[in-house]
């Protein structure tokens, strides 16, 4: 299987065409003695060469990007083609014959799918469907128009005697050539347009066209090819009808295959919660299966993969874990970029092989002029028609870019190579013409399109971060417009979109999404969630930059000597494999240690920071403070909401513990008399640590309750801790005031009530987690955020503990409040009312409501007393509003 695949990879040395394996012992000779050294080039030749080519291409890419100036002027695809030409020239000069070229089989089976999958999967679907009408028009009508006009015009050119008579081709041959040369190529378009940042509408129209025209190209090519092979005399009228019918079969069939596989893929990922590690693989396998199936049934494979990626993304992204998402994204991008690089390089190399082509100036020039002219004419005509229906008409500049952006590429080349020389005598001329056209469009047009876009002042795409405002407005608009269309009784785009969303929400999403993912599915919410994560990351970045590395290490160093085993990689594997091990406990302890351990240095850092801030001017400092306060509020409310929304048993326990600890240290500090001017950073940072730590630890347990792997961590921990807590619950009443917890982590372990009875745990403290966490804070935070989505219901018997706990630290803390007003972590962070609610399954939550309600006013109140000083009024107005609502 592998070998068969590799032989398709078409990079064999021409001289070594025969199968390589030479058995060392042949029957006649005595077996040779043991060889010390054996050279087995032939065994590895094919894969070796493939790897080598990819390596060369990647290295070339690196070299190109060394110079920013070159890549900003010249598209990478041009450089790669030129590099291919050079390499091909070298090979030609050395071997005296061209040995490598872009084989159609390789191209269609291996190089094209990753690119198409990447573009389909990451296609901005909203934009795509908003412009679907235009895209389909250009893809179907435009391609047909281009093919027929180019073919006919070339035939006319031949009739006029401008093409040399040695080009033996009839009308059908020219139509065949026209069909393969007319299609805009997705690879080339993507390569060039990604560097020219035109506005999204323009991009999606050109790019969508290049993807969807594949069906038309395939049909035209096949129909013309079979007509040519039949001979024009034998073509019946029914054949034309069949040709038209096959257009529908190929395009709709391809799309259907893609959607079926998208459905399968989404459904499969719904059930992968225990085998997270194969999630990315599933995505690739099923998408590739879609491609191959469509190819097998001679349907449009590109369309199939595009639809598969487009269709499955929403559900797959909701189902698979965060890590898998990242993996899918990067693998897809890597594969696509690699394939693209190889394609362009091989295009360059293939052009060197002069035995394959024959030159005819009339044909080449004629083709170049015709494709440019008819493309422009077609675009203008179609746009004129489309603009009658479009709300936002495409203006002239858009049309120029669209006509000029009609790049031809490797698809055309592969198709022309596939022609049968016996049936198409002019094949060599066509090959030469195709090469010239491809090179011209990619190099000349690719080079000039950027200055052209600049010169014409085409509206560029501006990359702004997604904002809640935008999301909210868009949603509102959608609904309003749908509603108005309903009122008017007009079944337009908005009407159908609304219908589809209803259907999706009612049936598809329920069927294809995990329940946990489905429940929290809301776009506004998603944006809010993402924004918060982004803020958190940038915030951690800030902290990370300001945090002097030394103190952290220094502080944990006492613990670090105790154990040397384990590695970061091992930790990672545990997370993925969910293998339960005895280290859970140890990690849990580590987490506590870290809580204490990381806090201290922060105090130092804080001091240094405050020094730093003093040097800043007042305005900047105030801004920063405002930002931090806002961040804090956001993070906290975000957290609490996250808890609420999924009705999870979400970790009140560890949070509490961490919080308690924090309080302890904070209070200790306060009693030490050190001012805490940067309390927010302290708090958040510690919380990050807590969570990322827990992320790394017990990822294994309690999958039964869990839908999301990230959630595992917390709940596992919660259960175990809860048990401990149950044991020592009597202690809670006499819990030592947090403020007297000594800074030493080991001591803290002993002092803290939930640690008692576990004296041995301190032994397990391992250092590597300590090292990991500061480095890994971002991901940890990220994952921990998503971990909050997990579902789990706790044992019922903890409910009393849970509810009785909050007042306790609060009582201890309240007298302290005036001492560190601005810096005190917001109470609701540690004990958000929602936490308690979230901590129960639905039935239990109702029982707990009164208690929460009791808590809520207190916390709302505390919010203000803690937060109002030292902030600008505008923001705090909001704060108060909220409080009053509470």
């Amino acid at each position: 299987m592998l070998r068969a695949a590799l032989s398709l990879l078409a990079l064999p040395l021409a001289g070594a065409a025969e199968e390589p394996t030479q058995k060392p012992e042949s029957p006649g000779e005595p077996p040779p003695g043991l060889e010390l050294f054996r050279w087995q080039w032939h065994e590895v030749e094919a894969p070796y060469l493939v790897a080598l080519w990819i390596l060369v291409a990647s290295l070339a890419k690196i070299v190109f990007h060394l110079s920013w100036k070159v890549t900003s002027l010249v598209p990478e695809s041009c450089l790669l083609i030129l590099l291919g030409l050079v390499l091909g020239g070298i090979v030609l000069a050395v071997a005296k014959k061209a040995e490598y070229q872009l084989e159609p089989g390789t191209f269609f089976l291996f190089l094209l799918p990753p690119i198409v999958l990447d573009s389909g999967y990451f296609m901005p679907s909203r934009l795509f469907f908003d412009n679907l009408g235009a895209i389909l028009t250009y893809a179907v009508v435009g391609t047909l128009w281009n093919a027929f006009t180019t073919g006919a015009a070339l035939w006319g050119l031949q009739q006029a005697g401008l093409v040399a008579p040695r080009v033996q081709a009839g009308l059908l041959d020219f139509l065949l050539f026209g069909s393969l040369i007319s299609a805009v190529d997705p690879v080339a378009v993507l390569a060039v347009f990604e560097e020219v940042h035109v506005n999204e509408t323009l991009f999606i129209i050109v790019f969508g066209e290049s993807l969807l025209n594949d069906a038309v190209t395939v049909v035209l090519y096949k129909v013309c090819n079979s007509f040519v092979e039949m001979g024009s005399a034998n073509v019946q009228a029914t054949d034309y009808l069949k040709g038209v019918a096959s257009l529908f079969v190929v395009s709709l069939g391809g799309a259907a295959v893609g959607l079926v596989f998208a459905f399968l893929l989404a459904l499969t990922t719904r059930f992968t919660k225990r085998v997270r590690i194969i999630e990315p693989l599933l995505v690739f396998l099923l998408a590739y299966a879609a491609y191959l199936t469509a190819e097998m049934a001679s349907l449009s494979a590109i369309l199939a993969v595009t639809m598969c990626g487009l269709g499955c993304k929403k559900y797959v992204e909701a189902n698979i874990s965060h890590k898998s998402r990242t993996t899918v994204k990067y693998t897809m991008k890597t594969l696509a970029s690699c394939a693209e690089t190889v394609i362009f390089m091989l295009l360059g190399i293939s052009a060197v092989d002069s035995s394959k082509w024959a030159w005819d100036s009339g044909l080449v020039l004629g083709t170049l002029i015709f494709i440019l002219f008819f493309r422009a004419l077609g675009v203008v005509l179609q746009t004129w028609v489309l603009n009658q229906f479009r709300l936002v008409p495409l203006d002239k500049i858009d049309q120029v870019v669209m006509s000029y952006g009609g790049l031809r590429g490797a698809v055309a080349f592969a198709l022309v190579i596939l022609l049968d020389r016996t049936k198409v005598p002019a094949k060599d001329y066509f090959v030469a013409t195709t090469i010239v056209v491809v090179f011209f469009t990619v190099i000349v047009q690719g080079l000039t399109i950027k200055p052209l876009v600049k010169w014409l002042k085409v509206k560029r795409s501006e990359h702004h971060k997604p904002t809640l405002n935008q999301e909210l407005h868009e949603h509102t608009f959608d609904h309003i417009l749908a509603a108005v269309e309903d009122v008017v009784g007009h079944h337009g785009y908005h009407y159908w979109r609304d219908r589809w969303e209803q259907f999706d929400k009612k049936y598809l999403s329920q069927l294809l999404m995990r329940r946990s993912a489905y429940r929290i599915r809301d776009q506004i919410w998603d944006v809010y969630y993402r924004l918060n994560i982004r803020d958190a990351i940038s915030f951690v970045d800030q902290v990370g930059q300001q945090l002097p590395g030394g103190p952290v290490v220094a502080h944990v160093s006492p613990a670090s000597g105790r154990r040397e085993s384990g590695s970061g990689a091992c930790l990672d594997l545990q997370v993925i494999d969910t293998v339960r091990s005895g280290r859970d406990r140890e990690d849990a302890v580590m987490h506590h240690l870290l809580c204490g351990g990381l806090y201290k240095p922060r105090r130092r850092y804080k001091a240094s920071c405050s020094r730093h801030f003093i040097s800043e001017d007042a305005q900047e400092r105030q801004d920063k403070e405002v930002f931090q306060q806002n961040m804090k509020r956001r993070l906290e409310s975000f957290k609490s909401t996250k808890h609420n929304i999924c009705f999870t048993k979400s970790k009140p326990r560890p949070r509490k513990n961490g919080r308690r600890k924090k309080d302890g240290v904070a209070n200790a500090e306060a009693t030490n008399g050190k001012p805490r001017d940067l309390g927010f950073q302290d708090t958040a940072a510690v919380i990050l640590t807590v969570e990322s730590e827990e992320e790394d630890e017990e990822s294994d347990s309690s999958e039964t309750e869990k839908e999301d792997d990230e959630g595992i961590i917390f709940v596992a921990r919660a259960t175990s801790e809860v048990l401990q807590e149950g044991k020592v619950s009597g202690n809670l009443e006499v819990c030592p005031s947090p403020r007297i917890i000594p800074p030493s982590p080991t001591c803290a372990e002993k002092e803290l009530p939930w640690k008692s009875g576990q004296g041995d745990l301190a032994v397990y403290v391992s250092s590597e987690t300590t090292k990991i966490v500061p480095v890994d804070m971002q991901t940890g935070w990220n994952q921990s955020i998503s971990s909050l989505e997990s579902l789990a219901s706790p044992p019922c018997n903890q409910a009393p503990i849970l509810t009785c706990l909050p007042p306790h630290p609060r009582g201890a803390e309240e007298p302290q409040a005036p001492l560190h007003l601005p810096s005190d972590p917001r109470p609701s962070f540690a004990f958000p009312p929602s936490l308690a609610k979230a901590g129960r399954s639905r039935s239990e939550s109702s029982a707990d409501l009164p208690q929460q309600q009791e808590l809520q006013p207190l916390m709302g109140h505390k919010d203000h007393t803690h937060l109002s000083p030292g902030t600008t009024t505008s923001h705090w107005c909001i704060q108060f509003n909220r409080g009053s609502r509470l």
Binding site: E485, D486, V487, H490, W525, R634, S637, S834, I878
Partner: protein, 161 residues
């Protein structure tokens, strides 16, 4: 409801409406058929902003609307024709040309909208925090994120060709 002023569409009334709203004759007759029970449209029931929209058709403080008022509200959503952009149109401006008023102004208003939009079940507090954040965003930029062009493009429907 609302039928007391619009039992019959007389020609002169039609012309008047045409002038007022900028809608064409056949658009108006078609809308008239739609007008009589637009509250009973089943699709509106599941639209989160359905009630909002229906209320928008009723003048403030009244629970009845006549056909003319109905059309004037609807006319906000018509597409701008090129010749309209330059000269003043009598009658209601298309909504998209006065996009500035589209901002959600107060926290409470925003909350109301959010309540309608967010479909998953989340608490008031969470909604509040989203609203806070949204307002904050607008504060930082000093304007709404969607600029006028966007609104222009988005707030039109091509009903009735």
């Amino acid at each position: 409801m609302g039928s007391q002023a619009s039992t019959l569409l007389r020609n002169e009334e039609l012309e008047e409406i045409e002038k007022e709203t900028g809608l064409s004759h056949c658009q108006i007759t078609r809308l008239y058929r739609r007008f009589n029970d637009f509250q009973g449209i089943p699709e509106l029931a599941i639209n989160p902003v359905g009630n909002w929209i229906i209320n928008a058709f009723f003048p403030e403080g009244e629970d009845q609307v006549n056909f003319r008022g109905f059309l004037q509200t609807l006319a906000h959503f018509r597409t701008i024709k090129d010749n309209e952009k330059s000269k003043d149109v009598n009658g209601p401006e298309p909504l998209n040309s006065r996009s500035n008023e589209l901002h959600f102004i107060s926290h409470d208003e925003l909350l109301k909208v959010l309540c309608m939009m967010v479909r998953v079940h989340i608490s008031d507090e969470q909604l509040g925090s989203i609203a806070d954040r949204t307002i904050q965003e607008a504060d930082q930029r000093g304007d709404s994120v969607l600029d006028k062009v966007d609104v222009e493009q988005k707030m039109s429907i091509r009903f009735l060709h």
